[in-house]
């Protein structure tokens, strides 16, 4: 899977309150409307300016805080093709995989705002075209690759009629 787009840079500890704030709680059952406010409390202009295919690039501990799955869902709905960060908070990471939003762990210090990126997920390579740099991604756990391949958790269960992520290590 190859993806191309521009980087939108955010700092460390971007919380699910930045991504899908509690004051918009009433929009949670109206995801297209909620998506118009995605990441509003971290960058008020992001939702208007992001183009389909662009990337969200964070620092460490991206997505900390509440378990709201609405957070990765509206990032995906806004057209973002993947989130890159040095590290992710656990629940956000799992939710992103479940809703089919690729999450990529890499050294995001090598990416600046608006850099043009091309990502080959199957090879685990990020090409920073603006800087002519190649970055490597850390591989996802096997169970998560299986879920992403199936199109997320609901699709996985639909397809197999059960939860069949590989047990063991």
């Amino acid at each position: 899977m190859r993806m191309e787009g521009k980087a939108w840079k955010f700092g460390d500890n971007i919380s699910t309150d930045h991504i899908a704030p509690g004051r918009l709680f009433h929009l949670r059952s109206n995801l297209p409307e909620l998506a118009k406010h995605v990441l509003e409390d971290a960058d008020p202009e992001f939702a208007d300016k992001v183009a389909p295919g662009d990337f969200v690039v964070g620092g460490k501990n991206f997505g900390l805080g509440s378990s709201r799955e609405h957070a990765p869902t509206i990032i995906k709905l806004a057209g973002v093709s993947a989130v890159l960060a040095k590290s992710f908070a656990r629940i956000f990471f799992r939710n992103a995989v479940n809703v089919g939003l690729p999450v990529i762990i890499c050294d995001t210090d090598q990416i600046d705002a608006y850099d043009e990126l091309a990502i080959d997920l199957s090879k685990g390579i990020i090409y920073n075209k603006t800087k002519s740099l190649e970055l490597r991604t850390s591989p996802l756990p096997k169970a998560m690759i299986r879920l992403l391949d199936d199109g997320g958790l609901a699709a996985h269960v639909s397809k197999h009629g059960d939860l069949v992520v590989d047990e063991g290590e």
Partner: protein, 423 residues
Amino acid sequence: MALTLAEKILSQRTGREVRAGDTIIAPVDVALGQDGTSPLAVKQLESIGLEKVANPENTVFFIDHAAPSPRKELSNDHKMLREFAEKTGSVLSDVGAGVCHQLIAEDFGAPGQVIIGADSHTCMAGALGAFATGMGSTDVAIGMALGKTWLRVPETIRINITGKLPAGVFAKDIVLHVIGILGADGATYKALEFTGETVAEMPMDDRLTLSNMAVEAGAKAGLIESDSVTKSYLEQNGRGQAFKPLKADEGADYERIIDIDVSNLEPTLAAPHTVDNVRTVGDLQGTAVDQVFIGSCTNGRLSDIAIAASILKGKQVAASVRCRVVPSSRKIFLEAIQAGYIEQLVEAGAVILAPGCGPCVGVHEGILGDGEVSLNTSNRNFQGRLGNPLGCIYLGSPAVAAAAALTGVITDPREVLTNAHGR
């Protein structure tokens, strides 16, 4: 082999010995969602034609985050949850019953269970010796429907707490101190296990506060062994038969052990805008506050309300402060009424709100104005958490919060605590 508490619970529930790092499919004993996350869970089940629950008596939908509903959109979400619970025979906990995690502790949780919840603070039931963890709506929906979930058995960081807490210093101060040491991502993917003589002597109210905030260091679970305190807590809630003793084995393999002596711990706060931005009360003394919120799953229990009442009794909340007190459950509310705390707090000028999340998540009941400051006993101070990205939140113990309500500024509670609660 010697097992950590996480490994032990998950081994017992899967019927084979599992170790940190293993990927397992575990049975789900209790599954829960709340009104902010369950509507999406229900829609996911509908979308794949799996509108059933495996274990209805232990599948619980809580209406607590926006309760009573402040908007028609949320009223419609609530309607949908009531209908789904009715259709599937699962349990619906409606407006006024209380915060999901408090009610899980009172009515559902028990040692040795696997509990999953579509709410990050599901880890609070770890104080009962349950492997309890927060997940998203789809994970919990599938867990509800199939009665199982997949997990990676976590490595464990042991937090060994010793020493006698000084007067005016509480479990909240300990856990904020721990998060300051670990950092907001210091325990990501791991379990915390709270051990040591201080924990052994702690009442369940305080243990729940420790486990509640494990997720603020990124942890998957915040576990405490089950003992006589656990047993009497279950008995008080009419569920003594659910008790079983559980503890980690001697010589279990911990990723890290952190020893903390609390005998000289100061009242501790988290300053805006991250929970690991930890300071002692001395560093922040004199900071003006506009609002105080005493409540939430972290600190809205009877002992918390008792401390606040002991500070505010016979006095007045500062004219510049709005003080909100929210009991975590109906049972706690009734007990606080019977003990006279509610009357004392109302006389002092506090506003009492229906058991539930109250203003904690910024939906209603205490949204900040631009530039305003709130001092909360809850667990998160992220930017925007109280409904306005231009507001600021400090986190502290109920004693710190009540002291600020009294004086209008962040104040060392030891200056205003006069009675037994000062220990």
